[in-house]
């Protein structure tokens, strides 16, 4: 009986861990007022942009799902 109970607890913990991993766990959602995550990425104009280098300027970062798709 105790073995079955222990197994159940272990399975439940495993399920929770898997669910957390699968969810992508991106941490707490960003909110206005938070520091924007820094990045260094290459762009279509041949330049490499580092967000920290753009301090002093307002930056608009428009995420889109996929190139060559409608909208």
């Amino acid at each position: 009986m105790l073995k079955i109970l222990a197994l159940g607890v272990v399975l439940a913990v495993c399920a929770i861990l898997v669910a957390a991993a699968v969810s992508g766990s991106q941490g707490d959602p960003l909110q206005p007022g938070d520091l924007a995550p820094d990045f260094t990425l290459k762009a279509s104009d041949g330049q490499t942009y580092h967000l920290a280098d753009l301090k002093g300027t307002t930056v608009v970062l428009a995420w889109f799902p996929k190139a060559f798709t409608g909208g």
Partner: protein
């Protein structure tokens, strides 16, 4: 439309640099399109969906590096006008 404001505008996706470069050329984009095929920046911004693509969210980041606003209901048909309205509402200064 955004040129009236003192902002740096980027589009960004998890596509490859090659794809985004072709996309930019096809649409004669006069702004940089950033590529994040590693998806690490997408994860950091919380935009990575279960499909592996980014959600269509726009982040407005102030001169101090802090997020001013996040638009999670972007309408592609009116995105330009909406960004102008947002930047105006946020009090972003206009360029010279």
């Amino acid at each position: 439309m955004l040129r009236q404001f003192d902002v740096k505008y980027f589009m960004i996706s998890v596509d490859t640099l090659e794809d985004n470069t072709k996309f930019a050329e096809m649409h004669e984009a006069d702004f940089p399109i950033l590529a994040n095929p590693e998806k690490d920046v997408a994860r950091a911004y919380g935009v990575l969906g279960r499909t592996g693509f980014a959600s269509r969210w726009t982040f407005y980041i102030g001169p101090d590096g802090r997020i001013l606003d996040i638009d999670k209901a972007v309408k592609t048909a009116t995105s330009g006008e909406d960004m102008v309205a947002k930047l105006t509402a946020l009090g972003v200064k206009k360029g010279m």
